[in-house]
Symmetry: C2
Subunit: 194 residues, 2 copies
Amino acid sequence: MAAAWEVARDKGLAGLSLSDVAARVGMQVPSLYSYFASKNDIYDAMFAQGNDQFLQFIRDRAVLPRSARERLRAGFWVTFDFCTADPVRYQLLFQRTIPGFTPSPASYAKALEVLDLFRQGLASTGLVSEPADQDLLTALSIGLVDQQISNDPGGRRWASLVDDVADMAYDYLLKKRRRARARPSTRSRNKEAQ
Amino acid sequence: MAAAWEVARDKGLAGLSLSDVAARVGMQVPSLYSYFASKNDIYDAMFAQGNDQFLQFIRDRAVLPRSARERLRAGFWVTFDFCTADPVRYQLLFQRTIPGFTPSPASYAKALEVLDLFRQGLASTGLVSEPADQDLLTALSIGLVDQQISNDPGGRRWASLVDDVADMAYDYLLKKRRRARARPSTRSRNKEAQ
DNA sequence: GTCTATATTTGGATAGAC
DNA sequence: GTCTATCCAAATATAGAC
């Protein structure tokens, strides 16, 4: 697995080849088939491992800061740091870029586990009322990550904007919540309106 | 070129092959070398063409709406619509995902042309004072695009958030500008402070 | 589990006739 | 400009001995 990650970081995720992996572990190519049924099986194992690493990463940072504002900032930073730490891993987990590969149900379940953990964390801030709010936050996070990786790899150009964007989102969600409480019929219509 | 785009949309950008392109235009593979020096040369031509299309797309929409708020919204929509209309083109122009390919200086110049056109449009709103503001806006735009393409291809899940995010950015930049004018030493330090 | 040997396919690219 | 023929390299994958 470690060799596979190294090769992917070296030759690009799509450039992963069994020959390179075998060479890096000092084996012949056919020996790899004792461990993986196919090349896509390696991608799948990487996908699962990457999600496990993300889960661990989130839990390691789960100090749960005091205020909702700080908690939101922390959420942005967790995503940003994890993704930018390994662009290839980010590409495998969050972009759909490898021609033939689709994660197995078992591996995909891990991805859902990550999503759910995030959903919980966001809910604890009391800021996120509807699914669309979560979509908004993921878009903002991923946008920062994507620009950082694509246009300033290894730099800090978008890292310096993480706190600003988090606060911007905080203000937006807070204002939205206030508005919704002032006249509940507008945003959360139907249910309470009747 | 059209055949190349079709193949890329069909087999994935990284899955582009000369055999498929040749087959689609009813030629033999070696005949393609009368038009392109190599496979990467095809990618390069696609890169240039994609940027040309973006330039045309921007100009077609350049009605320049009245208020700054509307102008910002329009800018978000231009990016969103163009990118989501063709995910493969988006991948080629804005992600760095193909192992061996780097755009030629001539093609890259077109990409810079697009960037500059955007910079002009944003400057006309009077909202964007420093480069970091532009980085912020590109991050927000790309985030919406990326999530829409990766997690709801063909759908409208993040499309429905475009106006909200644009307005959120507008409010943020407006507030920031007001703050900067109230005490000019904080944000635009050095120059005016001395 | 690991190897050698091999099958099989496919890829990009060139030579040279027409 | 387009073709046939060919080259060469690399890829994934399997068979079967040790």
